[in-house]
Subunit: 667 residues, 2 copies
């Protein structure tokens, strides 16, 4: 693609651009121009080439532009001057392919915006960039002059949503697809079956959804509509049917598939359970042949994901027939038995013209090289697979349900660690990655808030050049990106607000919101350890309402690190800490009244304690009399106590206060 | 209906209840009981009698309960113990009738909730009350024990939405119907045609929508779906087709209907325009006969609204044929000509089995007594009509587009003023009223925020006993009512937030929100006077984003009245005023950058000036040295200047600061 103005690499122009443009993911090459294109309400958009996806994308572009601006932009037919000129060289593959060209070239000057791409996918990506460029200028809505040459670093940029543990209705999925389009993601991976629910209608085996779903499943028609909706947005849909483990919901209707006699019920508890398919019976494969045939036709994508994770082998060990069969067939252990199962499943999948995908555990040298490994284990696992010639995706480090900050996810790179030493040829096997949202602690109400406050950072890692790593810039742009998603109907900011209002009952939400603003849910698998959650357990507590990452605390902690040398920072820290110190007295009466709020009494008290510790440290700094070591130790001990998880919540300003105490000890 | 516990009239128990229950509209009779009903996740709801509306209402009740609580309540089939027992004595009219019984009896004790009603409408109303009673108690989700006997004061409790001047898509209408259900309103009146657009598909005269709507209209199918949706919620749908004036959009496709030769275009400007139907031609009535026949079949309600307002007669005066005809038929003036028109239209409407409704102007003694007058003029007009035997509805005082506070609307009563002197028999002609939202300055984005921050107060006036007039109680309950509407998908709080974010561009919205929180749009027809609005003019400025009523300012003003005698009030006033004084310095850089924000520079400066005046007054009070008369006069003059409308916005803390200055002058 030929550029009409000089293109400067990101690093060189970042200081100029970063202050000004809120693009996410950051493009491969960007060069600012002079002036800006002023958008007229009657907007002429010319389209050359492409397919019907391009036309529909232009329609969505205009709708989205209206939402973002509040101006009833109309697409002007047959205009002489084209303000937005789109050129699409090809019409793209009939079925969106892995690795299909997504590059685009965008040139904006004061007369027009020219967007050109090799195919529809590039146009889709470029239109999202264009939407991110639109802003209110001094004289109207403008697009600043700029030249962008852009294409993704990785071909597979996915989001997995677990719709089995908690079902997510189709409207929730569709609005998340809209978010994915904004983030230039291209694979939606649905975890459609697990012990806790089977979520797709099967005509051939209707008891799957009739008995295994509580009535909560997608009809075949809904799946077809989702696939068309996603295709329009440049997104492939990959279904996962977990087997041979994580399959109890199948056995409610078809107990004969299991390795122990039934009857079975849908499992309401989380964790790894025993029920497992019987890999030694031909009937199992006959069933799966029929099932896979039906699903291979319903889901057009090349890949079909069979899960394959976390088989504990308990049912196999306890089943004499299976043990005898294993001896007869010289299959030495559970792993070998699962490998045998996978080989037979792979053959079925291949027969239907598809490629098999699965988690790390499926990797076995007996399987052909066209399978795909999704790694929850990490780069080591990926690199080993790549060296053996297997394609891989990274998901380790990108489990959104573990409540890590965006910066942690942003630091993860599929090509780091063991992957870094791969040869160029082997490195090509690493196709990209997927963020995963497992839904033990997510329901339709808070799903968006589990995904979108951080997803932009992962999407950028997968799209943008490897060197795009400035965390401050990422957070600044993520904030705008996340906020603008609300114009697409995502509810990651609205629903938590409503959940807080619910907690506050009819009362004033102010003080509860102040508390919430510095809290985060406990990290990792801490909630799992409580053993108190079942599928119907309401997720309507503070831990379910707060954001995975507290912006307020992050900013406080950053400011705290400058306290010693920056008087105005200290003044602001004091204002914040006073507010937090005084919050409990205001909040306490509300907390007493509701069973949902009572668990927050110690949390709120601890916030006061932590704020007091911070204020004492700042007092010492202001007075110029450093805190003695013993006083520091006392305060840190008190801080440690107050910062312990309570009600599955963490008070996230604790690290900042720790910094203040440390600084208060220095001259 | 027999009560099982003593029923106490509102006034007697208000002090007990008002602190505790957030019901809106307030019920006719309510008596608190002891204890509460604890709701189990598996909820048994028994229904006896009623029709399919009752079953669907119970389904919606469960969905709404899930939303409000975050608990996946399930309706337990065939339970032995019934937690919610619904008894519906009759199945209701096939077509919802004006005056149909909406009363219900609700008895909640610690074992169950019993809801009984004469018909489905009563069950619908009672279920809304039940939803408002649910709260988080000390041990779980509860309904406090209570006995309620309730029925509406007026039979016609409506909301009119003007979908002509700015079209409102069907999803916007449907979510507003959901809000109406919560408010126990029972008539949705759609202003479907006007100079600026014709909004319903006609099969008989397709050029109406094809040329008169910019493609923005409801299909016949959508109308049918809306009517069914509204019926399910106990709401009648009354269509209005304005004639003979306000009809330019008809003439684009059918210029022969007009009193001056065409061609006509859709009119893009607001105000009263000349185009008017020709009442002297039989062809006009032939057309309208066909049209009304079609619409009478599409809209099943008994009433058909013909508008009839604001005919300026210009086209009639200028048309020789009309003038001659008037002389020939001894019709002395425009008013008489319109009366003639109305008589002929009424005959057509009656022929189709309907009753004619229209604005004040249609009232004419030649018309039969079964017509209905909707009064934008007031109680005098209503009382006169009632004395002549005509039914009437009040809308004067309830024009939501005029941006009056809820307290103003709450103070309006159809039976006040001239209506108060009506005989009991004549008073029965006053059927109720309708709030009107004319849409010159409303678009889908801010429609909800124009209606719902105040609509609860009007709904209460129309439903609750006449003595329900405590403004503080109303505001407290309205706040909760309005907040809970968000669980029904209304966007009166979410969209203004997004509009502010739009104004802030990528920047921090905090200081812009602080400014917005004390602003209101100018009142009455002030925006009209600017003459700068056309239909496509974007409504994306601060004036379009702020709420019709500033809660922050109302609370500040109330606090200010206590400043002299209340030290803690003064401390809080000072904190607020300091924040407002300092806001401009923080906000100014953002205001400079955008054409949308620049008009706010003087507004923001004036807020600082007003805050400074308030702070000086409070200083004087604190110091115990009263402000001299001359100083007071200077400050009041400065306040007057700063409080003038700017950018079509009012700074609503000015009255409170005025109070402070007055108090600062006293010893």
């Amino acid at each position: 693609m030929k550029l009409t103005t000089a293109v400067i690499a990101l690093a060189a122009i970042a200081p100029v651009i970063a202050a000004d443009l809120n693009l996410m993911p950051w493009p491969e090459h960007i060069a600012p121009g002079n002036g800006a294109l002023l958008l007229n309400r009657s907007l002429s958009i010319g389209v050359q080439g492409g397919d019907e996806r391009v036309e529909r994308a232009v329609g969505r572009f205009v709708v989205q532009l209206r939402r973002q601006t509040g101006v009833s932009f109309d697409r002007q037919p047959g205009a002489e001057v084209t303000e937005i000129a789109i050129t699409c060289a090809g019409s793209g593959a009939a079925l969106q392919q892995l690795g299909e060209d997504e590059s685009y070239h965008l040139l904006v000057d004061s007369r027009r915006a020219q967007l050109s791409a090799a195919g529809p996918l590039g146009v889709l990506r470029g239109l999202q960039t264009l939407l991110q460029l639109v802003r209110a200028g001094e004289h109207g809505w403008i697009v600043p002059a700029v030249t962008i040459d852009d294409r993704p670093r990785f071909a597979w940029r996915g989001l997995m949503i677990d719709v089995s543990r908690h079902f997510m209705p189709m409207d929730v999925i569709l609005r998340n697809v809209d978010g994915m389009e904004a983030a230039k993601l291209n694979v939606l991976h649905l975890h459609l079956s697990d012990d806790q629910g089977f979520r797709v209608e099967s005509l051939r085996y209707p008891k799957l959804q009739e008995t295994g779903s509580d009535g909560l499943f997608y009809t075949r028609q809904q799946i077809g509509e989702l696939i068309a909706y996603a295709r329009d947005r440049g997104i492939r849909v990959v279904p996962e049917f977990d087997m041979p483990g994580h399959a109890a919901s199948w056995f409610v209707g078809y107990p004969e598939l299991a390795s122990a006699p039934g009857p079975y019920q849908i499992i309401r508890a989380w964790s790894i359970h025993d029920p497992c398919m019987n890999p030694t019976l031909d009937e199992t494969y006959e069933f799966l042949e029929g099932f896979i045939g039906e699903m291979a036709a319903l889901f057009p994508d090349t890949y079909l994901h069979i899960g394959g994770d976390e088989v504990n082998g308990e049912q196999w060990k306890a089943n004499g027939q299976i043990q005898t069969w294993m001896k007869d067939h010289a299959i030495k252990d559970d792993q070998a038995l699962q490998a045998y199962f996978n080989q037979r499943i792979q053959a079925i999948i291949a027969k239907h013209g598809k490629r098999m995908e699965g988690w790390d555990e499926i990797l076995d040298p007996a399987l052909p090289k066209d399978i795909l490994i999704q790694s929850w284990r990490g780069q080591k696992s990926l690199a080993e697979a790549a060296r053996k010639g297997y394609d891989g995706l990274l998901s380790s480090g990108w489990y959104l349900d573990l409540m890590q900050p965006a910066s942690t996810h942003y630091a993860v790179d599929p090509m780091d660690k063991e992957s870094a030493s791969l040869s160029d040829a082997d490195a090509k096997h690493i196709l990209g990655g997927e963020a995963c949202e497992w839904s033990e602690y997510a329901v339709p109400e808070n799903l968006d808030n589990r995904i979108w406050p951080r997803m932009g950072a992962i999407a950028e890692r997968l799209w943008s050049p490897r060197g795009t790593r400035d965390i401050d810039s990422m957070y600044r742009r993520l904030d705008v990106f996340s906020r603008n998603l609300e114009w697409r109907g995502l509810r990651h900011r609205q629903n938590p607000r409503l959940m807080l209002q619910r907690l506050a009952g009819g009362g004033d939400v102010t003080h509860l919101a102040t508390l919430a603003s510095v809290l985060e849910p406990v990290k990792g698998y801490k909630r799992e350890e409580t053993n108190k959650y079942l599928q119907p357990t309401p997720l309507n507590r503070m831990v379910d309402a707060v954001s995975p990452e507290s912006d307020v605390a992050r900013e406080f902690n950053a400011l705290a690190s400058r306290a010693k040398r920056d008087k105005s920072a200290r003044a602001q820290l004091i204002r914040n800490l006073q507010k937090w110190r005084d919050n409990h007295a205001q909040l306490r009466p509300m907390l007493d009244q509701s069973f949902l709020l009572r668990e927050l009494i110690p949390v709120s008290e601890h916030l006061t304690a932590i704020a007091n510790a911070g204020l004492r440290a700042l007092q010492a700094m202001e007075s110029g009399r450093p805190l003695a070591a013993s006083a520091r130790a006392r305060q840190l001990a008190a801080l440690d106590e107050a910062a312990k998880p309570q009600a599955e919540l963490l008070i996230m300003i604790a690290p900042g206060v720790r910094t203040l105490i440390a600084q208060a000890g220095r001259r």
